[in-house]
């Protein structure tokens, strides 16, 4: 099966999934921070978030990955040298995950910002009227309701992120595409391996679309749908 390289490809798949899942988690964190910053009253916060999203959305993901992967490590090295900490290793896995998470955090910032804005202001006002603190209003009132509005944008970004994780093979991370390349070079059968990888990705995206539509249905319970 696949000239015996199937286990190696599946190992690469495991890495692809790990990278995607962790990047998603990190992207959510960056996204929430970014969205809060963009909606905050502090001009400095709004400005930094604006710079963050503009920079990331203005550059190709591949270039960002290369920039952060090489530049980031060198930056950490310089910092570690200056502080006398000795060498801090950033494993390629972590570098890849942080990079993708950082990049998609910018896209999620916009998604979350739009979703937060879609929650009626009355909800937050009522919360404040009940003497809940701003943080409590955010965590317990706005965020849970924001999820429903965020799901389409979130789903979109997740799908893009799975496919973008293929780019980490270019910075040498040993993921599915990288493994396929190595196998293809040794067996001289690139079509077989890249088709197999394409099929696996198609399965991943199909499953994701299905799961996310279920999640959207769950979170939209009780919401009146428009009748045509």
């Amino acid at each position: 099966m696949l000239h015996g390289y199937l286990p190696a490809i599946l190992e690469g798949l495991e890495l692809t999934l790990k990278v995607s899942a962790l990047s998603l988690a990190i992207a959510c964190v960056f996204g929430l921070i970014g969205a809060s910053a963009k909606l905050s009253e502090s001009r400095a916060a709004r400005w930094s978030a604006e710079v963050y999203t503009t920079l990331i959305r203005g550059l190709p993901e591949l270039v960002l990955m290369l920039l952060i992967f090489y530049g980031g490590q060198i930056g950490i090295n310089r910092l570690a040298d200056a502080q006398g900490w000795g060498y801090i290793d950033i494993p390629p896995f972590l570098a890849g995950v942080l990079t993708i998470g950082f990049i998609f955090g910018a896209y999620l910032t916009e998604t979350f910002r739009g979703a937060i804005l879609a929650v009626p202001r009355g909800q937050a006002e009522a919360g404040l009227a009940f003497a809940l603190s701003r943080t409590q209003v955010l965590w317990r009132i706005v965020l849970p309701q924001m999820v429903r509005h965020a799901i389409p944008g979130f789903a979109n970004n997740w799908l893009i992120m799975i496919k973008a994780s293929a780019l980490v093979s270019i910075i040498g991370l040993d993921d599915m595409v990288h493994r396929a390349g190595l196998a293809a070079a040794t067996t001289r059968a690139p079509f077989t391996f890249y088709m197999a990888v394409a099929l696996i990705y198609l399965t991943l995206t199909s499953v994701s679309i299905f799961v996310l539509s279920r999640v959207e249905a769950r979170y939209s319970l009780g919401v009146k749908k428009v009748q045509f």
Binding site: R57, P60, E61, V63, L67, A166, F191, M195, T205
Partner: protein, 237 residues
């Protein structure tokens, strides 16, 4: 910051910019031309028209562009039959392979965008057009498509910017675009800022130029959507 290296490598970057822009232009042109009829087919009630298009967009949007490019460039070359055929004259050229991959991928996304815009046409528009006796080609070319394309403009601008960013992937199949130049400079001189930093600045400028062009297009074609509140906002400012 070693400026000498930046200045020395500028001619290389100019060549890279030319490659990027040409690739963008040809892929954009072909994908736009293909997407319009495909979008019409996609929203057609006739399943034999809409199903194949749905499948096409489903597969191409569900797999990474990088993998699609590798299949076309490396994968097809594997087969003796392909290498002997007439198509090989085209397929052995890296430019053709990149153009084909980008066109197919972009067509898939653009078709969905235009189809969504067509589906969002106000019922009243279609009814009025039909009441005037318009149908078939006239209905689409005079009423539905102009309206839909205008509606699709914001999302389409995102897709175009995305395509420009995607051209960086062409650097993996021997095309010397901006990213390839940056990687070479980095490999030879080991300077990240001078290599990727310059590339980043160039992409930034290109992105903002594209966004600016689309803002102008929006101003012209979506003029009818600007409401009075804009004026009120201006008065407030």
């Amino acid at each position: 910051m070693d400026w000498k290296i930046v200045i020395d490598s500028l001619p290389l970057y100019v060549g890279g910019i030319r490659t990027t822009l040409v690739l963008l232009a040809i892929s954009l042109a072909s994908s736009f031309l293909l997407s319009v009829p495909l979008a019409v087919a996609r929203v057609s009630p006739r399943l034999w028209l809409s199903r194949p298009v749905w499948f096409f967009t489903y597969v191409l949007r569900g797999t990474p562009l990088l993998v699609q490019l590798f299949i076309i460039y490396h994968g097809l070359a594997q087969f003796e039959a392909v290498r002997e055929s007439m198509a090989w004259v085209l397929l052995k050229n890296a430019w053709f392979c990149a153009w084909l991959a980008f066109t197919m991928n972009s067509t898939a996304y653009t078709t969905e965008i235009f189809a969504g815009a067509l589906k969002a046409t106000a019922n009243g528009e279609i009814e009025a057009a039909r009441a005037y006796g318009l149908s078939g080609l006239k209905l689409y070319s005079r009423v539905l498509l102009p309206s839909a394309l205008r509606r699709a403009l914001p999302q389409y601008s995102n897709e175009v910017v995305g395509l420009m960013h995607a051209t960086a992937i062409a650097s993996t199949v021997t095309l010397v675009d901006i990213t390839r130049v940056a990687r070479d400079v980095n490999a030879n001189h080991l300077l990240v800022t001078e290599s990727f930093g310059v590339a980043a600045v160039i992409y930034f400028v290109l992105t903002f130029s594209l966004v600016g062009i689309f803002k102008l297009l929006e101003r012209r074609f979506l003029r009818h959507l600007r409401t009075q509140s804009v004026g009120a906002a201006v008065a407030r400012a």
